[in-house]
Amino acid sequence: MTQRSWDRKDLLGLEDLSAAEIESILDAAVSFKSSEAPKNHSKLSNRTLAFLFSEPSTRTRSSFEVAARRLGAEVLGFSAASSSLLKGESLLDTVRNLEAMGVDYFVVRHELSGVLMPLAPKTKASLINAGDGAHEHPTQALLDLFTLREKKGTLKKLKVVIVGDVAHSRVARSNIFALLKFKAAVTVCGPTALIPHDIASLGVSVSQDLDHALKDADAVNVLRLQLERQKENLVTSLNDYYQAYGLTAERLAKNPDCMVLHPGPMNRGVEISSQAADGPQSAILEQVKNGVAVRMAVLSLIEGWRARHG
């Protein structure tokens, strides 16, 4: 058993986590992924997990659900799709009511940044952030890191390019916070309108030249472009966008060592070409697979905390 450093009730984001805490999760995920690992565990067999999603996400939700069931947890089907039910105070009420019914874990997806931060101290249940506004999506970034570490052997000093709509991306923020803890060199690339102001002050480089950014990158994480950004005049046209920032096989061919990540779901032909998405450099399906192991690791570490703190 590896040395683990984890002393938290919740997983709200990666900004406040240490490199050691992140590695604990990744190490635990290794054991859950290994081919010898049993598919059925009992670590969470007395636990109930509920989803609170104010916006739909089949992929993240299914991944959490598979992870929780493999650990033996009971999974509540409830999912509030209506965001009005999940605003401020009423979100707290929802959590407290379900807590009173015996729910121990909440996996929360919310369109507003930061809603979980004031909530966490007000409930004994464990909260896991499955995406809050444009703030963080910690388990997605953890599975990105896991995939990177698996393929590249280490996270130390990797060169990672994050391309696309960084302004509205929680995946980008969680990745940036985490990668910088491992002294990675992170470049964000995209049109100025989609790159948040002052992002360089977080410790990343900014580029508007994807070919240049990709030159000696170890990996490129391609963000999904929400098509409504064009209506908001943040991108002039999808063709323009694809020409400047679309990840194509031709672009990738110039750097065969560059691995391709995408949090999904993909807009093929908008931010990524089919050839690039399905080509030899792509780790996109591997990411999906790793997502289950990483989420099992998060749940089991938190369960360790719960067991210790009764």
Partner: protein
């Protein structure tokens, strides 16, 4: 027999007469009768009631030209009664009530309602600002002349900017004809749409949409141009961005009729001071960068920024619990403004005590054309605050205001108001003092 009160032995600080020395102040029938050392020894005053002010500052009551009293319509957040009690506790003796109530103060009868309610219930004096456009919708001008006759002191659509420049021009022309200032909340709503904090590092890290500084500065620059075009007095409310301060400084150099105010939260805090997602730090304009805060301090020091005003904006606790993106903008400020001025402006040598009172009393009186206050000259209203300048206290969530949305809770401040007199009568007395 005249009603008298002798305020004895305090350090009188009055920028209007350039006084900063120990004097006695005689009040007769609600007005200042005399300010002189050794008055108490005069034979005719031996029996006058005395307020011992030894060790205290005796200053002109503060005039806060940017206050939201919420009545009518939002009495759950604040009322004229509670808002003016909060003012009195802060040493404020005159407030200018902003018109963005529900419904807005946009007719002469609405003006009369607030004025009569204030006379009946107010702990301090209440001036009324009238809305510039009907319903504050930015579409049609209000009856400005009628509201002036009903007694407004300024016109503003505060809470919102005047996005339509043509309408703004016409409002300014009317204000000029009536001899009152137009107070503008400078914000280009297209540049700030959907944003809840400043556009900067903190917003980026928290994944929040930010308002760029330019959203304020483009409107400040437009207002300067329209003031030059019309000759009207434009007063820039709650200035917050360095580039806006620069624009006002240049306008003043050119002799234009433009003035500005800054709030205590903008001269005390910057975006990096806001912890996590605490909505008590959400205001509009937002807390900006450290560099912007520095520029506000410079503007206060060199007089580019004429006045300190709180933008006292009460919101009940439920609304601030909605989470940063959904919570309403605004913080309360009446009960902490003087102490913040003493701590952060006087304490850090940005302003002398005399200059601080200039910004908080004499200047707002001048900007609003009030000739009977903002000074302790003979014949002025006896609106006076007695302040212990060295007393330290910690801001607690116990306010006279109905709301508790203050970013300063827990902060240690210097300078405490011990008593506030309005027309020579106590509107506030600190429990263990006097």
């Amino acid at each position: 027999m005249a009603e008298r009160l002798l305020v004895k032995g305090g350090l009188v600080i009055d920028p209007s007469q350039n006084i900063e020395s120990v004097r006695d102040v005689l009040i007769e029938d609600g007005k200042i009768a005399e300010v002189r050392a050794g008055l108490s020894k005069q034979p005719g005053l031996k029996d006058a009631p005395v307020l011992d002010a030894q060790g205290l500052w005796v200053i002109p009551g503060l005039i806060d030209m940017h206050v939201h009293l919420r009545e009518p319509g939002r009495e759950g957040d604040e009322t004229i009664l509670t808002g003016t009690r909060a003012a009195a506790r802060g040493g404020v003796t005159t407030v200018l009530a902003m018109p963005n109530t529900e419904p807005p103060v946009d007719t002469p009868s609405a003006v009369s309602f607030v004025k009569s309610k204030a006379v009946a219930e107010g702990a301090v004096r209440v001036l009324v600002a009238g809305a510039a456009t009907v319903g504050q919708k930015g579409e049609r001008l209000t009856e400005i002349v009628g509201m002036v006759r009903a007694g407004i002191s300024a016109v503003t659509d505060d809470g919102r900017p005047m996005m339509n420049s043509e309408l703004m021009r016409r409002a300014l022309e009317c204000c000029k004809d009536c001899g009152i200032p137009f107070i503008d909340h400078c914000e280009d709503e297209h540049l700030s749409a959907g944003a809840c904090v400043n556009e900067g590092r903190a917003a980026t890290a928290k994944g929040l949409r930010g308002m760029p500084w330019a959203g304020e500065t483009v409107m400040v620059s437009r207002d300067i141009a329209l003031s030059e075009l019309t000759g009207a007095h434009v007063h820039i409310a709650h200035i917050s961005a360095a580039q806006s301060v620069t624009a006002v400084r240049l306008a003043k150099k050119r002799g234009l009729n433009v003035t500005a105010e800054a709030t205590p939260h903008h001269f005390t805090l910057c975006e990096e001071d806001a912890p996590g997602y605490d909505a008590n730090f959400k205001m509009n304009p937002p807390l900006r960068s450290a560099r912007d805060r520095e520029a506000v301090l410079e503007g206060l020091a060199d007089g580019t920024i004429d006045a300190v005003a709180t933008d006292h904006a009460p919101h009940g606790p439920g609304k601030k619990a909605l989470g940063l993106p959904l919570a309403p903008f605004g913080v309360i400020g009446l009960e902490t403004s003087l102490a913040l001025g003493i701590t952060h402006l006087v304490g850090k040598k940005i302003l002398s005590p005399k200059k601080l009172l200039e910004r908080m009393s004499a200047a707002p009186a001048r900007l609003l054309g009030l000739k009977d206050r903002g000074s302790l000259k003979k014949g002025m209203l006896a609106d006076i605050a007695l302040v212990h300048p060295g007393e330290s206290w910690t801001v607690e969530a116990r306010f006279e205001s109905k709301s508790r949305n203050s970013p300063f809770i827990g902060m240690k401040l210097k300078g405490q108001v011990r008593a506030t007199l309005v027309g020579g009568r106590a509107a506030f007395r600190h429990d263990h003092a006097l």
